[in-house]
C-alpha cells in the first residue's frame, strides 16, 4: 500500500515525525470521502424506495387513500394464481425471444465490424449503429406503429410486391420486433468489445492446421468471445424483462407483461399498490439474480463499455 500511494511519500517524508497513525487515518478517510456522495445517492434513491416497496408488498390489498389491514403475505399468495403465472411466463418468453433474436442478428454485425471491416471505418460504423439510441424509445415505438399498422408502410410494401399482408400490430410479433430493435445496439456494442479483443493469429493458426471456417468459428471464435456473449445476452435479457414501452404501445390487448401489470396496479385501471409492490419485488429479485449471473459469468470489461 505504501508503495502504491505516490502522493503520500512527499507528504510523509519531510515530516518524519508524522506517525504511522496519520497514514492510517488517510487510509480510513479517503474511501469515505470518495464513497459517501454515491452512497448517499444510492441510499436515498435506490435502497430506501426499494425498502418502501418491500413494506407495501407485505400489506395485502394496499390502496392509496383507503384504510389498510395489518401485514401479511396475501400479495405474494396472489401472485401464484394461474392468470399471473401466465403473465410472468409471457414476460420471460418475450425477454428470451428478444435476447435470442438480438444475438442472432447482432453477432454477424459485431463480427463484421470488429474483424472484417477496414479499421478506419470501425468507429464510424459503430456510431452509425448506435445512432438510433439518441432518439427517445417512445418515438421509436411510435415509428413501429406507423410501419406495422394494417394500413402502414410494411403492408404497402408487401402489397407492392404482391405478397400477403401481415397484421402484426397489437400482437406478439410486434412486441418481438419492437424489443429486438430497441436492444440490438446494446448487444452489438458488447459483442464488438469482446470480438475486438479476438486474437486473429489464432484464426490463422486454425486455418493453417486445416480447420474449416465453421470449425474455426465454433472452436476458436466462440469460446474466446463467450464472456461477451454471456454479458450481452444477460444485459439484453434483463432490460427486456422490465421493458414497458414496447409491449404497452405495440402489444395491444393480448400481451400483458409484468411491467404493464405493475403499471396498471399503480396508475392504471386497477389500483392495488400492495399487489403491484409484490410484483415489483418479484421483478427486482429476478433481475438481481440475472445481474449476479452477469457479474459471475459475463465479460465485465465489455459489459462496461
Amino acid at each position: 500500500m505504501s508503495t502504491s500511494t505516490p502522493s503520500s511519500p512527499t507528504l510523509a517524508e519531510p515530516l518524519p515525525t508524522a506517525p504511522r497513525g496519520w497514514h492510517k487515518l488517510t487510509r480510513l478517510i479517503e474511501p469515505i470521502v470518495l464513497l459517501v456522495p454515491s452512497g448517499v445517492w444510492l441510499l436515498l434513491l435506490l435502497v430506501a424506495p426499494t425498502l418502501l416497496i418491500l413494506e407495501l408488498s407485505f400489506i395485502p390489498g394496499f390502496r392509496l387513500g383507503q384504510p389498510t389491514g395489518g401485514y401479511g403475505i396475501g400479495n405474494y399468495l396472489e401472485i401464484f394464481r394461474p392468470i399471473y403465472f401466465q403473465v410472468i411466463w409471457r414476460s420471460v418468453l418475450f425477454a428470451v425471444g428478444c435476447t435470442v433474436t438480438c444475438m442472432l442478428l447482432g453477432f454477424p454485425v459485431a463480427y463484421w465490424i470488429a474483424v472484417m471491416a477496414p479499421p478506419r471505418w470501425r468507429n464510424l460504423l459503430l456510431v452509425a449503429f448506435v445512432l438510433p439510441l439518441w432518439t427517445s424509445s417512445l418515438l421509436r415505438a411510435y415509428a413501429w406503429i406507423t410501419i406495422l399498422r394494417p394500413s402502414g408502410s410494411l403492408n404497402s410494401l408487401l402489397s407492392a410486391l404482391h405478397l400477403p399482408n401481415q397484421e402484426w400490430l397489437n400482437q406478439t410479433p410486434a412486441v418481438y420486433i419492437g424489443m429486438a430493435y430497441s436492444f440490438l445496439p446494446y448487444m452489438v456494442l458488447i459483442l464488438y468489445a469482446s470480438l475486438e479483443k479476438l486474437d486473429k493469429r489464432l484464426l490463422e493458426a486454425a486455418s493453417d492446421l486445416g480447420a474449416t471456417p465453421q470449425q474455426t468459428f465454433w472452436k476458436v471464435t466462440v469460446p474466446q468471445t463467450l464472456p461477451g456473449i454471456a454479458a450481452g445476452g444477460l444485459l439484453v435479457f434483463i432490460t427486456s424483462l422490465g421493458e414497458f414501452v414496447v409491449p404497452e404501445l405495440l402489444g395491444g390487448a393480448s400481451s400483458m407483461t409484468v411491467s404493464r401489470l405493475i403499471y396498471n396496479q399503480f396508475l392504471g385501471a386497477t389500483r392495488n399498490w400492495g399487489l403491484g409492490s409484490s410484483f415489483s419485488i418479484l421483478m427486482i429479485t429476478g433481475v438481481s439474480i440475472a445481474i449476479a449471473l452477469l457479474l459471475k459469468y459475463g465479460d465485465r470489461d465489455s459489459a462496461l463499455t
Binding site: 436515498l44 434513491l45 435506490l46 430506501a48 424506495p49 426499494t50 418502501l52 416497496i53 407495501l56 390489498g61 390502496r63 392509496l64 387513500g65 383507503q66 392468470i83 399471473y84 401466465q86 403473465v87 439510441l133 427517445s136 424509445s137 417512445l138 411510435y142 399498422r149 394494417p150 394500413s151 402502414g152 397484421e167 400490430l169 397489437n170 400482437q171 422490465g242 421493458e243 414497458f244 414501452v245 404497452e248 404501445l249 395491444g252 390487448a253 393480448s254 400483458m256 411491467s259 401489470l261 405493475i262 403499471y263 396498471n264 399503480f266 396508475l267 392504471g268 385501471a269 386497477t270 389500483r271 392495488n272 409492490s277 415489483s280 421483478m283 427486482i284
Partner: protein, 392 residues
C-alpha cells in the same frame, strides 16, 4: 437511460402553457404523458422515491407555484382549455394560468395522494372521483357566496348525485360514452353494443375499448339488463363471461390514442367518450358517434379546489370566469365540450343546440347512468375480473 429521456420529454410537454396543438400532436402528448409516467413506474424504485419525496413523475412546478401568488396552476384533461380562454382570463384578472394535462382520473389521484400535486389550485376530476376525493378529505367545501352564476346551471346539475348542492365541485364538461365508427366501412348503421357481439367472428382485432374497468364492465352489464353500478358479484361474473367472448376482437384498451387508427381504418369501432369523438369528427366528418340504444354512461367532469391549493382566490376567480355564459359558450363552440350551463346553452347556435352527440336528447339520457363508487370489496371483484380479462 432511455427512461430519463422519456421524463425529460414529458416534462417538456407538461410545462407547456397549452397552446392549441393540432389534435394529432395533442393526442401524442396525452399518450406520451401516460406512457412516461408509466416509465417512471416501470422503474419501481424510482416510483416510490417520487411518492416519498413528494416530487411528481411529471415534474410539477411545485416550488415556483407556492411562491408566485399571481399564478394559477390547474390540473385538467388535455383539451379542456385553450389559448383564448387562458388569455381572456389573464386579461380580466391579471392572473397567469399554467394548465398541466392528465390522462386519467387514476393518474391524477395517484399524483395528488402521493403529494405531487400541491401546486394546483384547480383540478378537473370526474364525478365518481369527486366522491372519492371528498371522502378522503382532499377537497375544500366551496363558498357559494364567492361564486356568481351557479343559478344558471341546468337544473340537473344544480343538485347532482355525485355532489349534492355542488358543495365541493362545479360541473365543467359533461358527456356520454358510446361508439364511434365509419358507417361506410361497416356498411350499416350501428345502434348498440350488441353489434360487437353479433359480428365477433369478422371483427378480429378491430375494436378498441376504453381502459376503464367500470366503463367496460358497465356497458356489458347494461347489455345484460343490469345496472352500471351493480354490487351483485353474480351479475359482474356474468358480464365478465360475456366480455370474454369478444376478447379476440379487442385490438387494444385505449382511452386515448385510438383516433389515428380509427381514422385510417386500421380499426373499425372504438368505445370512446363523446368529447373525444366530437373532436375527431370535426376533422373526419365521415365518422359517426352513437350512444348505444341499450343505454350507456353519462359523466360529468368538474372543477374542484383541493385542500392543498396554494391560491384559492385565483381558483374562485377561474370558476367565476368559466361560469360566465359567454365564456362557457365560447368553449363549446371552439373545443366541442358540452356545457352544463343553461345560460351558455341558450347562447349557442341552433345547430349546436340540436347536436345530439353534444347534447343527447332526454330520451337518450333516460337510459344512461352515471358511474358511482361501489364498496371496496366490490371494487376488488371488478378489478379481479378486469385483470383476468386484460392478462389472458
Amino acid at each position: 437511460m432511455s427512461s430519463n429521456q422519456q421524463n425529460r420529454f414529458d416534462r417538456k410537454s407538461a410545462h407547456l402553457p397549452l397552446p392549441r396543438f393540432s389534435p394529432t400532436r395533442r393526442r401524442f402528448l396525452k399518450t406520451s404523458a401516460a406512457i412516461a409516467s408509466g416509465l417512471a413506474l416501470s422503474n419501481c424504485a424510482r416510483n416510490l422515491s417520487n411518492a416519498n419525496t413528494g416530487s411528481s413523475p411529471t415534474g410539477s412546478p411545485t416550488d415556483s407555484a407556492t411562491s408566485a401568488s399571481g399564478k394559477l396552476y390547474i390540473y385538467t384533461w388535455a383539451n379542456y382549455t385553450d389559448d383564448e380562454l387562458i388569455k381572456g382570463f389573464q386579461e380580466k384578472t391579471g392572473i397567469q394560468v399554467v394548465a398541466d394535462p392528465f390522462a386519467s382520473n387514476e393518474i391524477m389521484m395517484a399524483k395528488m395522494q402521493a403529494g405531487g400535486g400541491s401546486a394546483y389550485s384547480i383540478i378537473y376530476p370526474s364525478d365518481y372521483t369527486v366522491i372519492e376525493m371528498r371522502e378522503s378529505g382532499m377537497l375544500t367545501p366551496l363558498d357559494h357566496s364567492r361564486l356568481q352564476g351557479l343559478d344558471t346551471l341546468k337544473p340537473k346539475w344544480q343538485n347532482p348525485v355525485y355532489d349534492r348542492g355542488n358543495a365541493h365541485s362545479i360541473p365543467a364538461v359533461w358527456g356520454t360514452t358510446g361508439l364511434i365508427y365509419d358507417p361506410q366501412k361497416v356498411g350499416k348503421e350501428i345502434d348498440g353494443w350488441s353489434y360487437i357481439w353479433d359480428n365477433r367472428k369478422s371483427l378480429t382485432r378491430q375494436v378498441t375499448l376504453i381502459e376503464d374497468v367500470r366503463e367496460v364492465m358497465g356497458a356489458t352489464l347494461r347489455t345484460l339488463g343490469y345496472s352500471y353500478n351493480t354490487t351483485n358479484p353474480d351479475q359482474i361474473k356474468k358480464a365478465y363471461s360475456k366480455l370474454v367472448q369478444i376478447k379476440p376482437t379487442i385490438a387494444s384498451f385505449l382511452t386515448t390514442g385510438w383516433e389515428d387508427q380509427l381514422a385510417s381504418g386500421d380499426i373499425t369501432i372504438s368505445m370512446v367518450y363523446s368529447q373525444d369523438a366530437i373532436a375527431l369528427i370535426k376533422e373526419k366528418p365521415n365518422l359517426k358517434y352513437i350512444v348505444p340504444k341499450t343505454g350507456s354512461s353519462v359523466w360529468t367532469d368538474t372543477m374542484v379546489i383541493p385542500k392543498s391549493a396554494p391560491n384559492p382566490d385565483a381558483a374562485y376567480a377561474w370558476m367565476n370566469y368559466l361560469l360566465q355564459p359567454d365564456v362557457a359558450a365560447g368553449l363549446v363552440e371552439r373545443l366541442g365540450t358540452a356545457t352544463a350551463n343553461q345560460a351558455a346553452f341558450d347562447l349557442l347556435s341552433p345547430e349546436t343546440q340540436k347536436d345530439d352527440r353534444l347534447f343527447p336528447t332526454e330520451a337518450m339520457l333516460s337510459k344512461c347512468e352515471g358511474v358511482a363508487p361501489v364498496p371496496a370489496r366490490i371494487t376488488e371483484v371488478y378489478d379481479q375480473y378486469w385483470t383476468r380479462l386484460t392478462s389472458s
